[in-house]
């Protein structure tokens, strides 16, 4: 994991808060992003969707392996 990412995210968060002020609803949110994250946390895909995707995928031909999967399997076979 890139160690710079938490710092970058902290900067992003700071910018978002500074530009937003406070969003007042029944709850207060420090930023637009915080409000959207809360909204996302309350939103789930319908349970039937996973079944639909699984059924559709079962009808598909098996996809080829990616170039990096082929590369690594070849290397491990050579060892």
């Amino acid at each position: 994991m890139n160690p710079k990412i938490p710092k970058l995210q902290q900067q992003q968060k700071q910018e978002a808060v500074e530009q937003t002020g406070q969003l007042r609803t029944a709850r207060e949110f420090a930023s637009v992003e915080e409000m959207l994250r809360d909204d996302a946390a309350q939103t789930s895909p319908p349970p039937r969707l996973a079944h639909r995707v699984a059924e559709s995928i079962a009808k598909e031909p098996k996809p080829g392996r990616s170039w990096w999967q082929r590369l690594f399997s070849r290397r491990s076979a050579d060892l």
């Binding site: 978002a16 937003t20 939103t43 789930s44 319908p46 349970p47 039937r48 639909r52 996809p63």
Partner: protein, 211 residues
């Protein structure tokens, strides 16, 4: 060598892409009824099942708030994962899986928005969504608050240009940095930062109209 990431990278739509976006939905089988609780889907590929489990919630959320319609968001999420499955062999690992899925999602949703059907469709937003989405354990007051806030957020996002809407939805995902969003939307991180600044201001101005 084919460049699959680039194939999904442009926001510019053409007729072929529109046709593809619509045709996948049209051929999609729809489940007859809701599966019973604890009824797990049977994945032909357990690895892809794990990808779905990890990313489907966020992909569905972005599709929902971008399109503004729960039924279309469900279809779009289905199609995004089907496309991802078909193109999985072309995924080069140059970006995170989440970023790659967002790229497919944004292209797909933009194509949908540009079709005549979408422009003329009457939305049945939020009522059906909140019947299933809000956790059953929440109090009635809290459920009402969540529903009203969701409707207000949707009305606000609907009033923003699609580009602002997408940038706000992407940056709300804590896994996404400005740099990743910049790569995904094919612009510089500084351009993303500037547009996000304007997008936040526009969101707040629009949000306050719905008090």
């Amino acid at each position: 060598m084919a460049k699959p990431v680039e194939a999904e990278s442009s926001f510019v739509s053409d007729n072929a892409r529109q046709a593809e976006a619509v045709s996948v939905s049209a051929s999609t089988p729809v489940a007859d009824g809701p599966p019973s609780a604890g009824d797990q889907p049977k994945w032909a590929s357990p690895e892809f099942g794990a990808i779905y489990e990890e990313h489907s919630r966020q992909i569905y959320y972005v599709a929902l708030r971008f399109l503004g319609d729960p039924t279309q968001a469900e279809d779009a999420t289905h199609d995004v994962f089907l496309k991802a499955y078909r193109k999985l062999g072309e995924f080069r690992g140059e970006s995170a899986m989440r970023t790659w899925l967002y790229r497919i999602t944004s292209n797909h949703c933009r194509n949908l928005l540009q079709t005549w059907h979408q422009r003329n469709m009457v939305s049945n937003a939020d009522d059906t969504l909140w019947e299933t989405a809000v956790a059953a354990a929440e109090s009635p007051l809290r459920v009402l608050e969540i529903k009203e806030l969701g409707q207000r957020i949707q009305q606000t996002l609907d009033g923003l240009p699609p580009e602002y809407r997408l940038l706000l939805l992407l940056v709300a995902d804590q896994q996404m940095s400005y740099k990743e969003i910049a790569t995904l939307t094919e612009q510089s991180p500084d351009a993303v930062r500037g547009k996000l600044h304007r997008a936040r201001k526009a969101f707040i101005a629009q949000f306050q109209k719905f008090t």
